[in-house]
């Protein structure tokens, strides 16, 4: 059940990443073309920036899910297995704290900015802060999962797909 939920959320993230990237590229090109035609649209820059925040956040979340963020592991990897597991648990506990803080403070920003509208597009500024909330939630949930694995699974810890400096 949990596994199915995880893979469904990964697929949603990937689909959203494709849509955000295509929309962002489209916005920038629309800005270039309409300017060249001497009939510039005023909203393309702001919209492209908003979409960039989403692209960045979706990439952040995908990298978290695939253990893709950069870490320096050559010191930790030289520790005996038991110590390494303890170190990993402490690191992930701190990651959980970071994710939770980010999600909570992001949520505050979403609430505070819900009534504010962007300058050139009729959408709420809250859309700028919502991806930060999602990044925080993803980091916290991933960290909770990693702590569970470190505490319960025997054998080597799952290695990162990418991003580990070993």
């Amino acid at each position: 059940m949990l596994q199915r939920l995880r893979s469904a959320s990964d697929r949603v993230m990937e689909a959203a990443a494709v849509m955000a990237m295509v929309a962002m590229l489209g916005c920038v090109m629309l800005g270039v073309i309409t300017r060249a035609l001497d009939d510039p649209l005023i909203w393309t820059d702001e919209m492209a920036r908003l979409l960039l925040v989403w692209v960045a956040a979706l990439g952040w979340m995908l990298a978290t899910r695939r253990r893709g963020h950069i870490r320096i592991l050559f010191l930790v990897d030289r520790l005996p297995d038991r110590w390494r597991r303890s170190a990993e648990a402490v690191i992930q506990l701190m990651m959980f704290l970071f994710g939770a803080l980010l999600a909570l403070r992001g949520l505050e920003l979403v609430q505070r900015n819900a009534d504010l509208e962007a300058t050139s597009v009729p959408i709420s500024i809250a859309w700028l802060y919502l991806p930060i909330v999602l990044c925080g939630i993803t980091d916290a949930l991933q960290a909770a999962g990693e702590i569970w694995i470190a505490a319960t699974r025997s054998g080597p810890l799952p290695s990162a797909d990418e991003g580990r400096v070993e």
Binding site: E14, A48, E108, L109, P131
Partner: protein
């Protein structure tokens, strides 16, 4: 405030060394600063989001997208084949071709990671197939990928120009000669190594062979012309050039060469977004930490301290080189820029150093950080492509840092190498 920031920086560096994800270490440091400094910590979440809400940064994912499309459409292969036809007859031919292909690719890409992941994939495979050991292939690829952000267009230069208020066009022009010098110094090193190791050479394909390779790669070779023409004539900005480059790559793959399978596009985009996400997580958290440093008056404290203790501008430049190379060991290029520009640029102005000269040096140093351990993002990418460990990769690249460091010394001591071209084209 300064004392609090110092303690937090020490804990932050310790956290990085014990395996904490780099981006989260910066984010938590920023949270710690606001919480212990008695400020509202929601400012950290706001700064993290606002850092990405930047038009110049749009170029980052778009350059990576372009590199991935060019690779998937087989266009990087055409560029490499052309480079091989031109210089493959020299001893260690594929090493020379690797460097020349990177120079060509750097005219359309503005990121070292995009170069390493793009043309680097083809280069490493071709070199391994010809019997080169994986370490040598990966090391030359990593070293030549650093030319990408020095020869325009360049993402780090766009970010530097916006943050330090320096002409981006001027910075682009300032990078041309140093970029070519990097290529020349790497090729000189290849010549020495190739003779010593008796590396293989290709047969010269003749003028007709070179002409055929040129025609095969013609539209790809036109990319820098399209990008420069567009930027110089004012049709698009340096940032928008990345979007135009991505669309041009797509056009070449779908219409001109027809080697690109459009069904691959979603996977390419997801990979691009993930790679961008790794960079952006660092940049966004660095934006928050940079803000904390600026309100704790770190730049205002450190800049006069540097100026008071160093008398000559040249000595200041060498100290900056050391600081930037050291910081480049631990931070991603764009993240380091957001934190260090407010500290070092005011000091460079106090010494009367040309902003273009300082900007180019600043970017050059941090780019070198991408190919030396322990972080070395480009090393990480190339070691994955070559299928070797990060440690083996780090050892293999060390000799190739020598010619690049010599180029750095040259541009440090002789400013006209960077400033002559922009001053000649744009005036002072």
């Amino acid at each position: 405030m300064i004392a609090l920031m110092t303690q937090i920086v020490v804990v932050w560096l310790a956290a990085i060394m014990v395996g904490f994800p780099l981006f989260a270490a910066m984010g938590l440091a920023a949270f710690a600063f606001t919480i212990f400094g008695g400020m509202s910590d929601s400012i950290v979440a706001q700064k993290i989001a606002q850092t990405a809400n930047s038009f110049p940064l749009l170029a980052a994912p778009l350059f990576i997208l372009m590199g991935n499309i060019l690779n998937s459409a087989g266009i990087t292969q055409r560029i490499f084949d052309f480079a091989t036809a031109v210089v493959g007859w020299m001893r260690g031919g594929l090493c020379h071709a690797n460097i020349i292909a990177s120079v060509i690719f750097s005219g359309m890409s503005g990121s070292a990671v995009a170069d390493a992941a793009g043309v680097g994939t083809i280069e490493i495979k071709a070199m391994k197939d010809e019997g080169y050991d994986a370490e040598t292939a990966a090391a030359i690829t990593a070293a030549s990928a650093t030319i990408g952000p020095i020869i325009p267009p360049s993402l780090p230069m766009v970010i530097y120009g916006v943050t330090a208020d320096v002409s981006i066009g001027g910075l682009f022009l300032a990078g041309v000669v140093p970029g070519l010098l990097m290529a020349a110094s790497l090729m000189a090193m290849v010549t020495v190594v190739a003779r010593r190791r008796n590396l293989p050479r290709h047969k010269f394909p003749g003028i007709i062979g070179v002409w055929k390779a040129f025609l095969s790669a013609f539209w790809a070779l036109m990319a820098p012309v399209v990008l420069f023409g567009g930027m110089m004539s004012g049709y698009f900005t340096a940032t928008e050039a990345a979007a135009v480059a991505a669309c041009y790559a797509l056009f070449l793959g779908l219409v001109v060469y027809r080697d690109f399978d459009v069904r691959e596009l979603p996977k390419i985009i997801v990979d691009t977004v993930e790679t961008s996400g790794v960079v952006f997580a660092l940049v966004m958290c660095a934006g928050a930490l940079g803000w904390c440093m600026s309100i704790s008056r770190v730049p205002q404290t450190l800049a006069p301290l540097i100026v008071d203790n160093i008398s000559s501008p040249l000595m200041f430049l060498f100290v900056c080189n050391l600081i930037l190379l050291a910081v480049g060991c631990f931070m991603e290029v764009l993240a380091a820029m957001l934190i260090l520009i407010p500290i070092l640029v005011p000091a460079s102005i106090a010494y009367g150093i040309d902003p273009l000269h300082f900007g180019l040096m600043f970017v050059f140093n941090l780019i070198l950080g991408t190919i030396h351990p322990p972080i070395g993002v480009v090393l990480f990418v190339t070691s994955k492509i070559a299928g070797i460990s990060f440690e083996a990769m780090s050892r293999a690249v060390l000799p190739w840092l020598v010619p690049l460091l010599l180029t750095l010394v040259a541009i440090t001591v002789w400013p006209p190498l960077t400033t002559a071209l922009p001053h000649w084209v744009m005036g002072r």
